[in-house]
């Protein structure tokens, strides 16, 4: 982590997840051998905060970008950092296929059920009944379809070795999340297959709530639909 002032809203989950990534990279001694791929969305400027090499991908294409980096530099720690719109909507194909090819990368997935950067529109992961700028009367499955559980899909793929859903709303959750991140990064480095670490997150600006109320809302509404914990954890995929 560097000292650049963050552009994220106060109370946002991104800052905590960034810090965890920075800590794990430093603890693994990989500062000089890591390449991050930032998305389009609020985290587009992730490259401003972690002092590692970065590539900024087009919307949804980060897993394709990461595929090439890792294939060409197999000893590097390569990860993408993507939001729900980027990963689960416009980039669904890239996400599923990179995971299913068993690319030795880690996909970090920030799921706050809303489009933050563009001002709070409906995301593929927006909960039924949840209000956003493009479903102001609440997400209605008759009109908008259903929220997508990407981690559940990822866990079914033969290319993934580790799929987990974490959160950073409490100290206990942050500690667990850091361990999950470390495991995913180590799997990637050891060539064990593809890893997806989902962070069920808040967007207090988009949700129009205080940070405190957001955490409470997340616990009461997001956690039952996106339950925390490991969905898959195997010691390397069968190639």
């Amino acid at each position: 982590m560097n000292d650049n002032p963050m552009h994220y809203c106060p109370g946002c989950s991104h800052g905590v997840v960034h810090k965890l990534i920075a800590e794990v990279i430093e603890e693994m001694g990989m500062e000089n051998k890591s390449v991050g791929v930032s998305p389009v969305g609020c985290a587009v400027f992730a490259y401003n905060y972690l002092d590692i090499d970065w590539e900024e991908a087009a919307h949804g294409r980060a897993p394709a970008v990461a595929t090439a980096i890792k294939r060409l530099w197999p000893d590097r720690l390569v990860f993408t950092y993507q939001g729900d719109g980027d990963l689960a909507c416009i980039g669904t194909a890239e996400t599923i296929h990179a995971l299913n090819r068993g690319e030795n990368i880690t996909i970090i997935f920030i799921n706050n059920a809303i489009y933050g950067m563009t001002g709070g529109q409906m995301a593929p992961t927006t909960l039924i009944g949840m209000k956003t700028a493009t479903c102001p009367y609440g997400r209605d499955p008759k009109i908008h379809g259903f929220p997508l559980k990407m981690a559940n899909i990822a866990a079914q793929l033969d290319g993934t070795c580790y799929v987990t859903r974490q959160a950073v709303d409490t100290v206990a959750h942050i500690r667990k999340a850091k361990k999950a991140l470390r495991k995913a990064f180590e799997n990637s480095l050891q060539g064990k297959g593809a890893n997806l670490v989902e962070f069920v997150s808040t967007c207090n600006s988009g949700w129009k709530m205080s940070p405190d109320a957001s955490n409470k809302w997340m616990e009461e509404n997001m956690a039952p639909f996106y339950p925390l914990g490991d969905l898959k954890d195997i010691d390397g995929i069968q190639r």
């Binding site: 500062e31 000089n32 051998k33 890591s34 390449v35 791929v37 587009v44 490259y47 972690l50 002092d51 590692i52 090499d53 970065w54 590539e55 900024e56 991908a57 087009a58 294409r61 394709a64 970008v65 990461a66 595929t67 090439a68 980096i69 294939r71 060409l72 530099w73 590097r76 720690l77 194909a93 890239e94 296929h97």
Partner: protein, 361 residues
């Protein structure tokens, strides 16, 4: 061209084999007719066991071009190939690559459009290639091969130019050049650069920061318009330099010519035959073949126009390159177009008839 080095193969196969021999680091592609032999040849030759070249069949053209972006951003030699509808899908990625100033090679083996069109040859992606198919003010270094030999030779040339200017290069072929078999001498095999050599060659690349250096960030994003304008001005200066230094063209029998055919790629082959037929009939025709369709040989055409009574732009499209020919000629002499559409390739005698009808009258 002699001896055991001469081999017979399709243009698409020559692209693949030249890439392996030239030490290209990675190919990312998605099958589409009429260029699937590029990926098929690579798959059959298994270069990952010899040179270490990475070959990935991507899930889409979007993924393939973004893999090229990812690999090119690390300083390695990365390429993709496709045909017209697939190249349309790649345009977003090409714009990002141009914006981030990354060297790479794209190959378009053009087929007839619009839409799904046909699998037969066409040159209807001229506008897309040289006027900017994606968003923003950018240019591609665009090489138009007219033979299987040039398919092989332009792989290395395209990468050399791409790395010299940190700019994407494109080989603009068509279904004729991709599918026909001709004699070819492939580039001599050379090894791929080591990681250390890549780092030394591309100090800007993002491949894990070497100790002591600051992080490298590959992006085309800049929210401050005053900085973004400077970035654009920098790009335009680079493009002007390329226009000054890298124009390539061929002139055949232009010295005494009164009429000029301007044609690129497979059309130049037809134009050559038409030129011979016209000369047999006593009409003094010359041929100017743009090898780079961007940068365009504007000055060469302008100079040649001074001795000509008229120019025929011969293209497998409804009239695209003719606009650049007209700009070069500045309305001083008649410039007409002849082309067939939708995958039809004209006979040389059709071209001669068009010269008589449209230019000589």
């Amino acid at each position: 061209m002699a001896g055991e080095d001469v081999v017979l193969m399709k243009g698409n196969e020559a692209i693949a084999r030249a890439a392996i021999n030239y030490g290209v680091d990675a190919y990312f592609g998605y099958p589409i007719t009429p260029q699937s032999e590029v990926l098929e040849t690579l798959a059959e030759m298994k270069p990952w066991e010899t040179t270490g070249m990475v070959v990935v069949q991507a899930e889409s053209e979007l993924a393939a071009i973004n893999m090229v972006y990812g690999g090119a951003a690390t300083g390695k030699m990365c390429m993709t190939s496709s045909s017209s509808p697939g190249v349309s899908l790649k345009q977003e990625g090409i714009s990002y690559i141009a914006g981030a100033e990354l060297p790479c090679l794209i190959v378009n083996v053009m087929r007839g459009g619009p839409g799904l069109g046909t699998i037969q040859p066409s040159q209807a992606d001229y506008f897309q290639t040289v006027k900017g198919g994606g968003h923003g003010d950018y240019r591609l270094i665009a090489l138009a091969p007219a033979s299987v030999q040039e398919m092989a030779d332009f792989v290395g040339l395209a990468f050399d130019l791409a790395f010299k200017y940190r700019n994407p290069a494109i080989i603009v072929a068509d279904g004729v050049i991709g599918q026909m078999m001709e004699k070819v001498v492939l580039p001599k095999p050379r090894r791929r650069l080591t990681d250390e050599e890549v780092i030394a060659r591309c100090p800007w690349a993002a491949n894990g920061k070497a100790k002591g250096r600051k992080p490298n960030i590959i992006t085309s994003l800049e929210l401050d318009p005053s900085i973004m304008e400077q970035r654009n001005i920098h790009l335009q200066k680079k493009y002007a330099e390329i226009e000054e230094n890298e124009v390539r063209y061929e002139e055949i029998e232009c010295e005494d010519a009164e009429y000029l055919i301007v044609a690129f790629g497979s059309c130049a082959r037809i134009g050559l035959k038409a030129m011979e037929e016209a000369r047999a009939q006593g009409i003094k025709v010359g041929l100017l073949r743009p090898i780079t369709i961007w940068p365009f040989p504007t000055k060469a055409i302008k100079a040649r126009a001074q001795q000509m009574k008229g120019i025929m732009a011969l293209e497998l499209n409804a009239g695209q390159m003719i606009e650049d020919v007209k700009l070069a000629v500045e309305c001083k002499i008649p410039v007409e177009h002849f082309g067939r559409l939708g995958g039809i390739v004209p006979d040389p005698d059709e071209v001669v008839a068009a010269i008589k009808e449209k230019l000589i009258k």
